[in-house]
């Protein structure tokens, strides 16, 4: 029962935080609300006995990713954009109409389906008996999931290379190449344009 109440609390916070993220115009507020949401999701992971994931959720999301975001936000000094219109005018309404229907549809489906367990035997109790969530998860990761694991490392490598490629300090000789290449007469909407 406690679990259920906690779940509802975490869930409510998470949803509220998420709503905040997509409605607040201040990026920093958004960022903080996102962290808040993620922490609540981590809480739900905890409730589900996925301890390792809960920790990783906080570390990776709240820690690494969001710090990265914060860093960039500050680095680029994005205050000026907060004065501008934050929503797509027409599209906003389409989304406001469609999204709830979509949500209803998904909820309708997921509640209509009878979710049968296959009971592979890794119940929290069993896991605890085998040495805890982290150990079992780790074992599986390096045996069953070896290939994806290695590929995931490649993905991270690519991400790293990419970040350097795109965001590294500008080298002078290349800057002069910055121009409207391939200009076929299309003028871009520049910053001055009203939305």
């Amino acid at each position: 029962m406690v679990e259920k109440i906690l779940f509802i609390v975490f869930a409510a916070f998470a949803v509220a935080g998420a709503l905040g993220v997509i409605t607040r115009s201040n990026i920093v507020h958004g960022l903080i609300l996102l962290v808040f949401t993620f922490i609540n999701v981590a809480g739900i992971f905890l409730l589900t006995q996925a301890h390792f994931l809960a920790v990783i959720q906080v570390l990776v999301y709240a820690g690494a990713i969001l710090v990265l975001f914060a860093f960039v936000v500050m680095f680029l000094n994005l205050r000026e954009f907060q004065q501008e219109e934050q929503f797509h005018r027409g599209q906003k309404w389409a989304v406001i109409v469609l999204a709830p229907i979509m949500l209803a549809e998904i909820i309708f489906v997921v509640t209509a389906v009878t979710w049968a367990s296959v009971n592979d035997g890794f119940s929290p109790e069993a896991i605890a008996a085998q040495g805890g969530n982290v150990k079992v998860l780790g074992e599986q990761l390096f045996t069953k999931m070896l290939l994806p694991f290695e590929v995931a490392s490649l993905i991270l490598l690519v991400g790293m290379v990419g970040a350097i490629l795109l965001a590294a300090k500008e080298d002078r000789e290349s800057v002069c190449l910055r121009e409207w290449d391939d200009d076929d007469g299309v003028t871009p909407s520049l910053v001055e344009r009203e939305v």
Partner: protein, 486 residues
């Protein structure tokens, strides 16, 4: 894991090692990147050769995460070929763009690895990481020319829509997992089949379809395609138009035939409807394009429409994999002709790096200025149109015959009519090249670079050979379904 498990991934291992080697070598190279080009090219060739060497084998590896069979081999060879041709056409182009860096080749290699995994995977997790490896590399390749607004924009658009789409797919995959309790294709398929078709399966089908449809630019999830192709460096656009697309189809065929066996009737109808939509969208948009790169992008969407018709037929055909073979063959044929067409664009860009904007008007009088380029472009255009004697025709022939075989003659009629419409914009290129005189004088041309010429020549040769003596590729395509389920 046993050492045995490494055999199926030999081609990928080669590529990964080469990719890492490229990254390591890069800091030691100055302006001349020949070494890295050579490494990448060699790796791709060896990888392809290795894949050929592995053909005929059947082996599951990494706890059934991936398999080695002729199906995977077919795609591995195809991806290696596409990668090699892309690498060949890149150096001069990148030099002209002022950004010739070894990382580029590493990214191509990694993308090919991702695509190989998509084709070979037998598990949704492996599929997903393969997909993401390819996607992440692709985003970077699209934005490779970071000082160019279009390249940035292309990367951003590709990234946003790609991430959005993969989130949707992922959601679908999670539902599949929820229903089956496993992620292995065959097990999932069996479980779902036992559970019967239901709302959950339908929703999951739809969600997965969207994500994969995005990768192959199926309407209405295609809209990134023209912008990304236009903004990305031309060789990259060439690569995109064949690599990720073929990988998407490779995964799609596999996933829908195994995982979603139960919802066959749903997805075959979806594919048929979306095929018509995609054909329409691709052709209608392509008609008004003045920019050849965008035109080719839309045309690639149209081709996806034809391929989807094949998938629809496959869904209708029961255990007859004729349509699947046709799709494979078509992808192979399409790879060469499209790479060739983009190769010509790359060549022209290297001729006038500062001014060439891929506009149709700049093709005027090409037949006089560089007759060989014009003749080859003509060949590729005719092939894309589906004129007999070229790979494009045999591909269409095969594909539409599979559609007809599945008693979808009406769909074949729609498809061929659309391909007649497509003839208009392909011909327009020929019209400009041969029938019109240029409005301005163009600078004298410099000789074509060796690798680029080789790439074009190989593409053209492939187009003609597949067009006239298709048995070779046909056999491969048929064999790939021969040991489909072991």
């Amino acid at each position: 894991m046993t050492p045995q498990d490494l055999i199926p991934i030999i081609p990928e291992l080669i590529l990964v090692l080469a990719g890492l080697l490229v990254l390591v070598v890069e800091p030691f190279l100055k302006a001349d990147k020949t070494a890295n080009v050579a490494i990448a090219l060699t790796a791709l060739l060896i990888s392809g050769a290795a894949a050929v060497g592995l053909s005929g084998r059947e082996q599951a590896a990494f706890t059934d995460m991936i398999v080695l069979n002729d199906y995977a081999v077919f795609f591995k060879v195809l991806f290696a070929a596409a990668g090699a041709l892309t690498v060949l056409m890149s150096p001069r182009y990148l030099e002209a763009s002022g950004r010739h860096m070894g990382e580029y080749y590493a990214l191509i290699l990694f993308a090919v690895v991702g695509m190989d995994l998509m084709a070979a995977s037998r598990d949704l997790i492996a599929f997903y990481v393969g997909l993401e490896l390819m996607a992440v590399s692709s985003y970077l390749l699209a934005g490779f020319l970071r000082y160019q607004v279009r390249s940035n924009e292309a990367a951003m658009k590709y990234f946003l829509t790609g991430a959005f789409a993969s989130a949707i797919t992922l959601y679908g995959i999670s539902l599949v997992y929820g229903m089956a309790g496993t992620t292995n294709y065959e097990q999932v398929g069996a479980t779902l089949l036992a559970g019967g078709d239901g709302l959950g399966v339908a929703l999951a089908t739809a969600l997965v379809l969207v994500g994969m449809g995005f990768k192959v630019s199926m309407a209405p999830f295609h809209m990134w395609t023209p912008d990304v192709y236009q903004g990305a460096p031309t060789p990259v656009a060439a690569f995109f138009s064949v690599g990720p697309k073929a990988a998407g189809f490779a995964a799609m065929l596999m996933v829908f035939l195994t995982v979603f066996e139960v919802s066959r009737s749903t997805w075959s109808v979806l594919f048929i409807v979306l095929a018509v939509l995609t054909m329409f969208v691709g052709n209608a948009f392509a008609l008004t394009q003045k920019n050849i790169k965008r035109m080719l992008a839309y045309s690639s969407i149209a081709h996806v429409g034809y391929l989807l018709a094949g998938l629809g037929a496959l869904g209708r055909a029961g255990t007859d994999y004729f349509a699947g073979e046709a799709v494979l063959f078509y992808l192979a044929a399409y790879t060469f002709m499209n790479l060739g067409a983009f190769g010509i664009l790359a060549y022209l860009k290297t001729q006038q790096p500062a001014t060439f904007s891929y506009s149709l008007a700049e093709f005027a009088g090409l037949g006089r200025r560089s007759p060989w380029a014009a003749v080859l472009m003509g060949l590729f255009m005719f092939s894309l149109t589906g004129m007999p004697g070229t790979a494009g025709f045999v591909g269409k022939f095969y594909l539409f015959s599979s559609v007809v075989k599945a008693d979808l003659a009406w769909l074949a009629v729609i498809a061929v009519l659309f391909s007649a419409v497509s003839a208009y914009y392909y011909l327009r290129v020929i019209v400009y090249m041969f029938f019109r005189e240029p409005e301005v004088e163009y600078a004298t041309k410099e000789p074509i670079s060796g690798p680029l010429a080789a790439s074009l020549a190989l593409s053209a040769a492939a187009v003609v050979v597949i067009g006239l003596l298709p048995s070779w590729v046909l056999d491969a395509a048929q064999a790939s379904f021969g040991n489909f389920f072991g």
